[in-house]
């Protein structure tokens, strides 16, 4: 019988699998921290993780709960500050991959982490850009985390915090961006990617036990479901690394599977 696992575990591992050995990873808090650290411990030991706060390639002996956690300052290659970190994010030669979460996303991978409702009198206020707009504007590529539901996968964002593929096609390039844009969206249902030409989101992989219809039902815009394959379930080795090594206190993973 295959091992039981939670949605969060599947998401962290699905995102981690998108990391290549040698990648330079710009990680945020929460799931992105898990994805980066689990990838580094399983298949990408030469990947380097750094944080917008200036912590470059720390030992990460314990899981940081924020990008300013003192755990990103220990055993590092370099302790610096925000401007140094962003100089690496934006470096012409480094292929920095960024992990980000969001409150809303549209069909072209533009995201909202600022508010719902009117900006001047928001119904719900979120934390804001932080480094998200910078990563979406300047990183080599971005991998996004989302809870998959219609309130979050929307036709039109309440606020466009961070530019993805804008209105698709070559609109991002025309707007003045030199590179980057979202590469994948990892949700609790599967992994989406973006068409090479139209830059519109499509379903790339379904997690075991999830149907394409479930994705459609939870997406507030039209999405191409025809290219989907099945994601590998988490392996014993992946789950062991994630649970015993990366987040033994389940600080980010939350409650264990039944």
């Amino acid at each position: 019988m295959p091992p039981a696992y939670t949605n969060k575990e599947m998401m962290a591992l699905a995102a981690g699998r998108l990391v290549d050995n040698g990648d330079i990873l710009f990680a945020g808090t929460g799931l992105s921290m898990l994805a980066a650290t689990v990838a580094k411990r399983i298949h990408a030991p030469a990947a380097t993780v750094f944080f917008e706060t200036g912590g470059i390639d720390p030992a990460l002996a314990e899981l940081p709960l924020a990008v300013a956690d003192p755990r990103v300052m220990s055993g590092s290659c370099l302790n610096s500050g925000l401007l140094d970190a962003f100089s690496l994010l934006a470096h012409r030669r480094l292929r920095t991959i960024s992990f980000l979460g969001a409150a809303q996303i549209d069909a072209y991978g533009n995201i909202n982490t600022t508010c719902l409702g009117d900006y001047h009198r928001p119904r719900v206020r979120f934390p804001g850009s932080g480094g998200a707009c910078d990563a979406m504007s300047q990183a080599f590529a971005v991998i996004l985390f989302m809870q998959h539901d219609k309130q979050r996968f929307v036709e039109k964002l309440d606020y466009l915090t961070s530019p993805g593929w804008l209105s698709g096609g070559d609109s991002r390039e025309k707007a003045g961006f030199q590179r980057g844009g979202p590469r994948a969206v990892v949700t609790n249902l599967g992994v989406m990617k973006f068409d090479e030409t139209t830059r519109r989101m499509y379903l790339h992989q379904l997690y075991p036990g999830v149907s394409a219809q479930e994705v459609a039902d939870n997406t507030g815009f039209e999405m191409d479901l025809t290219r989907a394959s099945q994601a590998e379930p988490p392996s014993e080795a992946e789950l062991k690394a994630l649970r015993e090594d990366v987040d033994p206190q389940r600080l980010i993973l939350g409650p264990a599977a039944e």
Partner: protein, 326 residues
Amino acid sequence: MSEGNDPQGKFMSAEEAVRRFVKDGDLVTIGGFTVSRNPMALAREIIRQGRRDLHLAVHSHGQAMDLLVGAGCVRRIEVAYGGTGRFAPTCIRFRRAAQSGELEVEDYSNFQMGLRFLAGALNLPFMPCRSGLESDLLAKWGFSPELRQREGKLARHKAVVTENPFGDTGERVVLLPALTPDVALIHAQYVGDDGTVRIKGLTFLDLEQARAASRVIVSCEEIVPAAYLRQDPDQNSLPHFLIDAVVRAPYGAHPTACHYFYDYDPRHLNMYRREAGEDESFRGYLKRWVFDAPDQESYLAQVGTSDLIRIRANSQAGYAPGLDRR
């Protein structure tokens, strides 16, 4: 303060530093980042002294910002991020104040705020930036053009899109106005008895914020002889002649972390999240942790020895390994 010499009268209590150097309506910036090195002892003193109409300019800010906003000291904020990681993905009082409209918010990104402080530090009027073209960070202004026209401290525009004059392609670039705060509040590990500042661990934007500000207040864990810091000037962070006030405040960043001294305090931060959730319980929090504790010494007595010992940093790691952070 220590028994060191104080030729320029820089060493003083938090009460005196805030009274002399933070005025109602000031443009204030605070050092640290989310859960690390927030100048909490100074923030609590600002609340005690009832400062009003402050204009905060910060990047990713958490505990100090949320406390000042919750206590009603802040009228306007320029901000990139309000949160404390897992403890409060969005700062509780910041969220409520933004939603109720009592706080005027102007959003930027972290790189943008970093460049704006850097511009202030280098005495440049603006900085170019490649972040945010076509985003609502540029399109939606929290501070209206009319307000910007009326208020001398505000730049006329939130941002301006222009063309790079040095290339052939008409490449579009964002220009961002410099930030020159009236006062910067910084918490450091060490200050020399001449005022020289040494910060350990990440410096975030503290150095740019301090250099951009007209006045600088530094609270610190330890005051040490200047000669000790001058044995290795490579490790020092800010020169003495930029610092207006030095306040000795052990655990002055609590409940946020101070690398090599103490970790963040998960129990306090979780308790804060619960109490900040409702107006009445938040008033109870302020009473207990700010107003009824008139200085840092009585605040620490309120925290109690067992929590202070539990978060004490391990000398090798710089944080508290194995700390229960649930």
